[in-house]
Amino acid sequence: MTGYPVWAIIGALGLGTYLIRFSFLGLIGDRPLPAWVLRHLRYTGVAVLPGLVAPLVLWPDATGGQPDPVRLAAAGATLAVGVWRRDVVQAVLAGAAVLALGGWLTA
């Protein structure tokens, strides 16, 4: 970690991230968006999060990129309970429980 201008990296990353968050909300403001744009934006969450997670679930760094049955089962439980119960916390608890149980069984 030595040799890096860590403060400059934190500053650039912080400023850049803030500008990304501010972008549309800040610049468009109250100008109305066309219906087709709104129709696309309704799917932002489901378009980003599953794709972000998929490689982390299938190829976890912690196992050197090898699929791990315990992590796969925990991911499946989280998703299933989330769809079934429509509740984020119950979903996380289900996934954590499977992860803990699986880790204990395979230890």
């Binding site: 850049g16 968006l33 799917y43 989280t78 989330g82 996380v92």
Partner: protein
């Protein structure tokens, strides 16, 4: 219940998710050799877990500083989509408020706000701003506090604990309740297939391409369902 309190109540359960996730960052950053003030600066100035892990990983691997910043920013580009998605709900708030809201825009506050605003059409813009601030209240102090805890405990946390999986579980749990219609399911499917097929694309650009394709898919399925 006031919109602010409703927001706090909706945001509170996320503490369960954020504690292990932020602790993990604190532990790894400390183990990688960052002093406490820099670890804390990451979590208060950047406040974007996935990109903080990316930056850390790349610095640990010895990548050039410019690459570190660019790759971590690419991970955060999804927030531009969140920013756009909130325009119809929060665009009428005064500029100063929008500047504040932008700082508080993370996956969790976005997911809660997007889901809640759709069902509460009678809320004024001010109500929506209060709700958003409410969701952020439990999330942000918890993120910063748990980063500190992770940095302080550091190597005392057993290696066998699969803390690395806190991030995927947190995001999967957000996804489940979003799958409300065939259009949402179709978009999620394209997102996963696209991200896996394009995982080789550098700069994390594969995810962004997959996300755009997924949004187009959701919009098209919705349009056909309405036309039918």
């Amino acid at each position: 219940m006031t919109p602010f309190r409703r927001g706090v109540a909706d945001g509170l359960p996320f503490v369960v998710i954020i504690v292990p996730f932020a602790m993990m960052f604190g532990v790894l950053a400390t183990e990688a050799g960052l002093p406490l003030d820099q670890v804390m600066a990451f979590s208060t100035i950047v406040i974007a877990g996935a990109s903080q892990f990316t930056a850390l990983q790349l610095m640990d691997a010895g990548a050039p500083g410019v690459i570190v910043v660019a790759s971590a920013l690419a991970v955060n580009l999804r927030m531009a989509m969140y920013s756009a998605a909130l325009v119809p709900h929060l665009g009428r708030a005064p500029l100063l408020q929008r500047m504040g809201l932008a700082y508080l825009l993370v996956d969790q506050t976005y997911a809660l706000a997007a889901a809640t605003y759709e069902g509460r059409t009678t809320w004024t813009t001010a109500d929506r701003v209060r709700y958003f601030c409410g969701t952020a209240l439990p999330v942000f102090p918890c993120w910063v506090g748990s980063t500190w805890l992770g940095a302080a405990l550091g190597a005392r946390i057993p290696d066998a604990w699969p803390l690395d999986f806190a991030l995927p579980l947190a995001f999967l749990a957000l996804t489940g309740p979003m799958l409300r219609s065939p259009a949402h399911v179709a978009a999620a499917f394209v997102s996963v297939a696209g991200a896996l097929a394009l995982a080789w694309v550098p700069w994390n650009a594969g995810l962004l391409i997959a996300a755009l394709a997924a949004m187009a898919t959701g919009a098209e399925v919705e349009r056909r369902a309405r036309a039918a």
